[in-house]
């Protein structure tokens, strides 16, 4: 689905105040699709993104280049990172290693960002750089963009996308 086309916007409408709403809705839709299809984890409800700030979180961040360029970040409760990893790999949570958590959160980062960019419309091309894992006892978002958080079974997960339309 081409979101900007279906909503009647073009890339040069990036300064439109409702653009954040569009990207937020897109983040919700893409996160939900990725979580249900590949992690077998449904979103229970949308929650306050600031809830995870200052807490112990597992994160992954990537930069993407192209037209447009930008950044994407995901952060999750450690318990969610563990359960998503177990669901993705089809193993028991007790078998999950920190390295596997980093790899799987990186895959979530990759897929959700790629899925959002592919659906955004008028994105000519993009290249995702390798996601960088992070574990922070007092998490603070590193990406200043549109952020959405979701309650899953056992904790929260947040995603944030910044699209630099002007620098493309």
């Amino acid at each position: 689905m081409n979101w900007t086309a279906s909503w009647g916007w073009a890339m040069n409408d990036a300064a439109h105040p409702e653009m954040d709403g569009l990207i937020g809705a897109l983040l919700h839709s893409c996160s939900e699709h990725v979580l249900e299809t590949m992690f077998f984890a449904p979103i229970l409800e949308e929650t306050d993104p600031a809830e995870g700030d200052g807490r112990n979180r597992v994160a992954s961040r990537l930069h993407f280049q192209g037209r447009p360029s930008g950044d994407f970040e995901v952060d999750a409760d450690p318990a969610i990172a563990r359960s998503l990893t177990a669901g993705f790999l089809g193993i028991d949570e007790s078998e999950v290693t920190p390295l596997q958590e980093d790899e799987v959160l990186a895959e979530f980062c990759n897929m959700t960002c790629g899925s959002a960019l592919s659906s955004l419309g008028q994105v000519e091309y993009f290249s995702l750089e390798t996601p960088a894992p992070a574990r922070e006892s007092e998490f603070a978002p590193a990406v200043d963009g549109v952020r959405r958080a979701f309650l899953l079974d056992g904790g929260t997960l947040a995603v944030c996308l910044r699209v630099d339309f002007d620098r493309s």
Partner: protein, 128 residues
């Protein structure tokens, strides 16, 4: 017919997921071979009778685009079916990979049904 499948992805987690989804899809696979980039994949192709290749695009050392280009440049693997599995579903990327010689394109996220359908199409239903 049981297949020999080569999975090319720099993420061990994604390779494990693809194996899992292949099992869930009911596709009968004899042996899974794996490679972390295009160069390793070329080595695997030289050493094993691969029936189909599932490859990512963004990888270190040799990316999926270069890998498919080399595969189709000549030699014994020109006819080996290659299905691209990528997060990138822009028309530009899909067109590039198909024009290079990939015969299928699957966007992540995907489930067992989509993978089965794509492999059935590429290899022929029943894989005969």
């Amino acid at each position: 017919m049981a297949l020999q499948i080569l999975i090319v992805d720099d993420s061990p987690a994604m390779r494990a997921f693809i194996r899992r989804v292949m099992r869930l899809s009911g596709i009968e696979v004899d042996v899974y071979h794996e490679a972390g980039n295009g160069l390793e994949a070329l080595v695997q192709l030289l050493n094993h009778p691969i029936d189909a290749v599932l490859t990512d695009i963004n990888m270190p050392v040799m990316d999926g685009e270069t890998f498919v280009r080399k595969l189709r440049a000549g030699g014994p693997f020109q006819a080996t079916p290659v299905v691209v599995i990528s997060t990138d579903a822009t028309a530009h990327r899909i067109q590039t990979m198909l024009s290079l010689g990939a015969v299928g394109y699957l966007q992540k996220p995907f489930g067992p049904e989509q993978l089965r359908s794509e492999l059935d199409r590429v290899l022929g239903v029943g894989h005969e």
